[in-house]
């Protein structure tokens, strides 16, 4: 197991450099100059602009910190490879750079935003696990019953509804018409009419909706599949009741793929849900990255993506390790059913 984890951690390295490199190259291809965008519609004074480029290490400077100018009097940009190396070196010192727009260190911004995303992700994943797995089990056990048809119908609708549209419908219904839930934001304000936890309900449901539907479907098909296995017949032949057969013999086997799905999904939720956070004006990292992209605020985009890579890779590793607890064949590194 230790060897396996080490191997997986080593696999992080090429993925990490690959993704950051691609992103770094992309930011130089996407139109829109970040420094010019800071000024918005106004025309920037060339001296000020040059000063800003210096402060963001975008142009080469001499030993006095003054920008080096070429024969035309233009500043010489720092070559791309050098900037990438600088970025990586800073990263390993815990420095993700400074936001162009907010003038704040990127690490501070994400330290502020990440807890919102994490709390929302936890709420959504709990909702997804309970409702998805629960609906899947009911649907499989009461196959072809009213409940099964209901679950199939509702999951089909949920899978096909875009998250932002579902979010807006929920806002309209619960927030505007019924006035029972807050429309947007994460609460915590002084004049808030609702307790803080109520702010989580709609975004968490919206965030979980599609994957809730998928996990219900995976659960249903897995359970139906497992119920046809020979060892289920063995369990019945022992005299176990239907309930015992399902609870003790079928569920643990059927859960393995569902746990994988939900685990990987948790990783993607932790990396911020841009659509959900935007619809609900949620101060998480997804919304922050979305805003940064529109403003070409590259340090935030780079920093955000770097955080996402690490989070997703760690979660995936944890999911892989968790297989071992569910499936002894993986825990003991044995081949599946050699005969």
């Amino acid at each position: 197991m230790g060897k396996y984890i080490l191997k997986r951690v080593l696999q992080f390295i090429p993925v990490f450099f690959g993704v950051t490199l691609i992103l770094f190259l992309l930011q130089n291809v996407v139109p829109g100059d970040p420094i010019k965008m800071i000024a918005g519609d106004k025309v920037l004074d060339p001296a000020v602009e040059l000063q800003m480029r210096v402060s963001y290490d975008l142009v080469q400077v001499d030993e006095n910190g003054d920008p080096i100018l070429d024969e035309n009097g233009d500043p010489v940009p720092v070559p791309l490879p050098e900037r990438y190396v600088n970025y990586i070196v800073d990263l390993f010192h815990g420095d993700l750079g400074r936001s162009y727009q907010r003038k704040l260190p990127v690490t501070d911004i994400f330290a502020d935003k990440f807890p919102y995303t994490a709390r929302l992700a936890v709420c959504a994943i709990i909702l997804e696990a309970i409702m998805g797995i629960g609906a899947g089990i009911i649907s499989a056990i009461k196959r072809y019953s009213f409940w099964d048809i209901l679950v199939t119908l509702v999951t089909s609708i949920m899978v096909s509804l875009p998250a932002f549209w579902l979010g807006m419908l929920l806002q309209l219904f619960f927030g505007v018409y019924l006035h029972v839930l807050p429309l947007s934001g994460a609460g915590g304000g002084v004049a808030s009419a609702y307790p803080e936890w109520m702010y989580y309900i709609l975004p968490a449901f919206t965030l979980a909706s599609v994957s809730m539907a998928y996990s219900a479907r995976i659960m249903r098909s897995q359970l139906l599949d497992v119920m046809n296995q020979d060892y289920i017949r063995t369990a019945r032949a022992k005299g176990l009741s239907n309930r015992s057969v399902i609870v003790h013999h079928a569920l643990k086997n059927a859960l393995i793929p569902v746990v994988t799905y939900i685990g990987v999904d948790f990783g993607s939720m932790l990396s911020g849900a841009i659509l959900t956070e935007t619809v609900f004006n949620w101060p998480g990292i997804g919304y922050e990255i979305y805003r940064a992209i529109t403003q070409r605020d590259w340090p935030i985009v780079m920093g955000g993506v770097t955080i996402i890579i690490v989070v997703v890779m760690v979660i995936n590793l944890l999911v892989d390790i968790s297989y071992g607890f569910l499936d002894p064949r993986i825990r003991f590194g044995a081949p599946k059913d050699k005969s």
């Binding site: 060892y231 005299g239 064949r329």
Partner: protein, 376 residues
Amino acid sequence: MKKNDKNYVDLKTQPIPEGQHLLEVDDLKMYFHTEDGVVHAVDGVSYTLDRGETLGVVGESGSGKSVTHMTIMGLIPMPPGKIEGGSVKYRGHSLLDMSEEEMQHVRGNDIAMIFQDPMTSLNPVYKIGKQVGEGLRLHRGYSKQEALKRATELLDLVGIPQPEKRVNEYPHQFSGGMRQRVMIAMALACDPDILIADEPTTALDVTIQAQIIELMQEMQQKNGNAIVMITHDLGVVADMADKIMVMYAGRPVEFGTADEIFYESRHPYTWGLIRSIPEQAVDEKKPLTPIHGNPPSLVNLPAGCPFAPRCPYAQDICHTERPVHHTRPSGHYSACHFADDDEFVKKNAPDTSRSRGKIATGTPDTLDSTSKGGEA
């Protein structure tokens, strides 16, 4: 636990009513009602079984051997299955009239079953000890420790080396033969009266097959349980069965003692099965004699004898009239219109003086050696 249920009576401890057998299956019929029509999966099966006896149930795939016994165990989902008639009596109690809960007491406790494929018949996520001891916890109210201890003893009993260690291992750590031993240990955990073995050796290496059969016989001698041995291989039952039922298209076509089936068979289908036993030891150049054609669809059975389309001796009556059981005084019955025609039987029955005994175990009996000598 069921043991704590005060209405619970262990049927095993009850006497068999006077004049009855341990298990009496009488004209059992179970049909599947599917969209394609009614499948006559079990169509009038009758036999009796006593303690210590072994019944061999032989037939091709799809002849209803397994389904019959799944029906007796109450393991067929209803619907689509439906009991259409007949009775199954265990120690005088009708199994077909029992509630699902009562049947749960019977399963594993009074009648246990082992299955064809030991590779897939054990739950991959639980330790062997838990799976073997599960029945004891359920039917006898054993504690976890007691069940584990007994499971270890059972593994030892079925010849698994280092049972203390293996009891804590998972199925994937066992070979096929060892897993089938585990299945036997599991089935015998509660000392059942009847062990139904559904092709227990089909998925195993030939060398392991004989070991598993020997083990089952050994256990039978110790416990005195009855065995129902379901197989498509006449050779497997040849030296272990007391009685043999030959099934075809959901019906028993012949039933009798092992000797009656092998030496005095009066049904052309049984003859075909006997002729198709490999006889390499006798004559390596002699080709196998197959039964031509395929078993009929159980949805649209031919009007007469279901075997008639494949039977080389079929007459007009065979295509129009379903044969009844022609029962001889010993209880040996054959579902063939000509079963009572001694001349017909004498003319067409295979020379069985050397057909029996070339079994998986390979032990030649006296009869075989004589006939071999005679031919050489």
